[in-house]
Symmetry: C2
Subunit: 145 residues, 2 copies
DNA sequence: CTAACTGCAAAAACTTTGCACTTTT
DNA sequence: AAAAGTGCAAAGTTTTTGCAGTTAG
């Protein structure tokens, strides 16, 4: 569905284009985001980066994620406990979150653009970022629980 | 669309049914939730209740909200800063949130049940609670900004 | 060289928790 | 009387901020 290397190059190009500096820490975070198939949290990214960059700080992780969010290259998934990030598919799409084990899965739900347009008309809102989340039980927890 | 008094009675009945006690603080919080048309935060509810119950604590607000959430009588809207609560329409529905002034509005978006069923089939998840949020600019902020 | 970035530590903010006291039933 | 609820304060989390030192361009 997507090629991590291509995505990595895209992200690097996007940073370059806006004249953001390519520090080793930043490049490593971008690599993780481009290659990770799941939806890591800031803490998880931080932990992984520390393998290669023991001096990496959480502040830098958060600052870089803020940058990528603002560039619309990373989608933030708001959870109660912390945020998770999706850097593979920057466009809006649904997420399924298990309320028991917190697993996150991408959902193949096509957003009906016409109904969003309708919503904009009736509400007067200019919709920028849809966030569609379905809380429930994942296959594993349905069985085990 | 809804009658605050009826909703109030519903909530009280739901508490009684499960043998939860009707303390004055709890009843007042339920009244606020039933009658407020917007989507108040825990802090806002707390502030309002203090008018009548100066000894009310935030802990009790949170504990009571947790109760009502668990009873599926109140819908929690997760925001980055805090949570807001919708006690008028416990069923799933969309919310429009202004990224500039944080105004929250109910969205009249009909959830397509068949596509949710399809999503359950393809994902294996048992969907319990959909959370549909559209971030964007409200009518006021489109103009002013 | 200099503007941008990092990293440390402290701060900030919301929410939860423990426990003694009070109150509903 | 007993179980449940309240309220205070402290603790727990995630995220942000300030600033001095470092580094990419």
């Amino acid at each position: 569905m997507f090629d991590p290397e291509v995505r990595f190059d895209e992200l690097i190009a996007a940073l370059k284009e806006r004249n953001f500096r390519l520090t080793p820490q930043r490049v490593e975070l971008v690599r993780l985001i481009a290659t990770s198939e799941g939806h890591p949290s800031a803490a998880q990214l931080y932990a992984k980066i520390r393998d290669r960059f023991p001096t990496m700080s959480q502040a830098t992780v958060y600052k870089t994620l803020a940058l990528l969010k603002e560039m619309n290259q990373v989608l933030e998934i708001d959870l109660r406990d912390d945020s998770h990030y999706d850097g593979n598919r920057p466009g809006p799409h649904a997420h399924l979150i298990c309320t028991q084990c917190n697993k996150i899965m991408d959902g193949d739900l096509d957003l009906d653009l016409s109904s969003i347009r309708k919503l904009e008309e009736t509400s007067g809102y200019q919709i920028v970022r849809p966030q569609i989340t379905f809380y429930g039980l994942c296959p594993d927890c349905r069985q085990g629980g």
